[in-house]
């Protein structure tokens, strides 16, 4: 198990390094950072001054290696745009994204597990079709579109919830629904198929034969087993949700990591872009690693195979 865990950890580290390198190259090759920093009105001379001042005239490998060395010590440098330490910016914005991610996942689980169970209980019925429709719509509809629909319904028309900002817990309701809905289909499908499989199994038949009530069979025996893989999937989905927060935070003007990434991309603030991408990647990689390890712990065939 330890050997397996170490192997997975090294692989995770390599993935993180690759992500940072790709991100660095994409930012630097897409445009000239000094031109973007100087803004629309800058003369060529002004851009040259900025390029020199920020060391952007050095070769790319030198810039990358220097950044990586500092990053390993937790120093991501200063934001080229905000002119403050990147680490402080990221830490300041992190809680908003974590709250949003957690709330979105909570909403997704609350919606998808009951729907998945209901669909499994009545396979191929109209209930099953309805849940399938919900899943398909959730997967197909762009999050920004769904976000706007929610905004106009609950904010503009009904005046029930705040539209943008993050001052109170009510501000997180619409963004969490918009973001969480995207994760719903995968969890719901897995719950449904897990439940279908479990409900067909021998021990459920035995439980029924023993005369246990339907509720007891369903919640005490079937659901507990069917939901186990969902926990692993939820961890991975949380990673997706953190990535998806770029769009949602921008639409709802939530001052989190996603919004920071959006701003940084717009201003070619590559130290911030890299830090955010690296951080979200690390969270995703760690969550995936934990899910892998949990699965391997539960199922020895995985670590041997």
């Amino acid at each position: 198990m330890l050997q397996y865990a170490l192997k997975r950890a090294v692989l995770a580290l390599l993935v993180a390094l690759t992500v940072s390198l790709i991100c660095f190259l994409l930012v630097n090759l897409s445009t000239d950072v000094a031109t973007a920093m100087a803004g629309e009105g800058a003369t060529a001379e002004a851009i040259d001054v900025i390029r020199h001042q920020y060391g952007l005239d050095r070769p790319l490998p030198v810039q990358y290696v220097e950044w990586l060395g500092h990053a390993a010590r937790g120093d991501f440098g200063d934001s080229l745009y905000f002119r403050t330490p990147v680490a402080a910016l990221v830490l300041e914005r992190m809680p908003t994204t974590m709250i949003l991610g957690g709330a979105a996942l909570g909403f997704a689980l609350l919606l998808s597990i009951p729907l998945g169970v209901v669909a499994a209980l009545k396979p191929n019925s109209w209930v099953d079709r309805l849940t399938l429709t919900i899943a398909v719509v959730g997967q197909a509809m762009p999050t920004f579109w769904f976000a706007l629909l929610l905004m106009f319904l609950f904010g503009v028309t009904l005046h029930l919830l705040p539209i943008s900002g993050g001052d109170t817990w009510q501000h997180f309701i619409l963004p969490s629904i918009a973001l969480g809905y995207y994760a719903t289909p995968a969890i719901m499908r897995l719950t449904r198929s897990g439940m279908l499989e479990v409900l067909e199994s021998d021990y459920i038949r035995t439980a029924r034969a023993k005369g246990l009530g339907n509720t007891s069979v369903l919640f005490k025996h079937a659901l507990r087993n069917a939901v186990a893989p969902v926990v692993a999937l939820a961890a991975v989905q949380l990673g997706f949700l953190l990535g998806g927060s770029v769009v949602i935070e921008t639409v709802f003007a939530l001052n989190g990591l996603g919004y920071l990434a959006w701003e940084a991309i717009g201003h070619n603030d590559f130290p911030v872009v890299q830090a955010v991408v690296l951080l979200i990647s690390l969270v995703y990689i760690v969550l995936t690693l934990l899910a892998d390890l949990a699965n391997a712990w539960l199922d020895p065939r995985i670590r041997i195979g």
């Binding site: 897409s30 445009t31 000239d32 031109t35 973007a36 920093m37 100087a38 803004g39 629309e40 009105g41 800058a42 003369t43 060529a44 001379e45 002004a46 001054v49 900025i50 001042q53 934001s79 745009y81 905000f82 002119r83 403050t84 920004f144 579109w145 706007l148 629909l149 905004m151 106009f152 904010g155 503009v156 028309t157 005046h159 705040p162 539209i163 943008s164 900002g165 921008t250 639409v251 709802f252 003007a253 001052n255 919004y259 920071l260 959006w262 701003e263 717009g266 201003h267 070619n268």
Partner: protein
Amino acid sequence: MHKYCKLLRVTLLAAAVAFALPAQAGKRDNSVKLAANQVPESLDAYFNNVRVGVILAHHIWDTLIYRDPKTNEYKPSLSTGWRWIDDKTLEFDLRHGVKFHNGAAFDADDVVYTLNFVSKPENKSTTQQNVNWIASAEKIDQFKVRIHLKKPFPAALEYLAGPVVIYPHEYYAKVGPKGMSEKPVGSGPYMVVENQPGRLVRLKRNPNYFKDSPKPQPQIETLELRLIPDQNTQTAELMAGGLDWIFNVPPDQAQQLKTVPTLQVKAGESMRVVFLTMASGEQTPTPVLKDIRVRKAIIHAINRQAMLKTVVGESARVIHTLCFPAQFGCTDEGAPRYDYNPAKSKELLKEAGYPNGFDIDLYAYRERPQTEAVIGYLRAVGIRANLRFMQYAAMRDAIREHKAGFAHQTWGSFSVNDVSAMTPVYFKFSADDVTRDPQVRDLLEAGDTSVKPEVRKVAYKNALKRIAEQAYVVPMYSLPVYYAYAKDLQFQPYPDEIPRFWEYRWK
């Protein structure tokens, strides 16, 4: 994607109009809640280059001179009088009795410290072009200063009336740009009482604002600027009553908002002009544009007047030379005008040896529907323009590296009402000059370096005439800016795109 967004906006707006409640969040407490879609990287006016930063700067700080946006006349502000000592020296008499928000008294030390600090490149001001003409500032006595210029720069007064604001020297020396960004202190009509970087800036009326200021005493008690990046979210907030004022509303959305009974929509002409650059210099990546007949054919092919009605919007106007008509030195007198004439365009192309037209890449970075309209007009005469749409920085790189020869550009002149902030950028042999005509360069240089207004006017007129005769660019039109706001708010837009909340009030 764009079409879907548009469809969604139209549908949602139409649905929401029917249910919208009174949208006057701030009338009750005499405040105005406004939104911007970009975060200024710093509130220090010399360390950000976004529009909302310029707007805030005009409210928090004052300048030595004030340009009346209605008459374009220069008026005393922090200085009571000024004079040119020679071509490179300006002298200012400073106002007595002005106090900064922290209680510090304004005098020559503030002007000298601010200008000397921001004009030094090592202090890394982001807006270099606003201050790089300053050699130094010198204190003559407590209320008299001289500004020494690096070279004759008659537009200096325009900059001193615009982006060059004055800071309290002791405070700025103590806290630097970072501290000034966190807790800005100025002498302007509004003072910052809350600053949540990346979220909101709250300003309160300055009760001790100096009485002789050319800016009227502010009436609105509080301004709350929220940063909401998404335009649709801003619109939703405005309709729900969470905001009172938004700007840069897309034209199609503005048309829909006009139907909301609690809102007003106003279009204001901006100083930003739209034009197509055609690289005809030696290093052009599009040699076809070296032929003046081809360049003229392109101008004749585009129906600019019709574009105003269909894709640009109200309050805009067609321009015939490369400058904004209200700018000092801008004129189209004597310059040829190219009417919309597709037949003549085809004829010119035939004469130039392109009876079947040609293929060309057209680079663009904003106002995509307008670029697409241009492409449609060009196709009608046989010019097959292929759209290359990208970010501004990428497009500018491509132009400077001689990879993009034909580009749809815009220029806002930094709200500087002088032609030196516009035409020379593209015609004085800088990296953005894709034409490189020595005659134009010399004429512009004469205009840029004389302090005699008449000499400047003649020089610019001849330069603009030469540019138009040679058809070096396609001057298109000025761009309108759409504002949407609560019906009871008295608001007046200006071409420099700076709302002046010290003038506005609730009805």
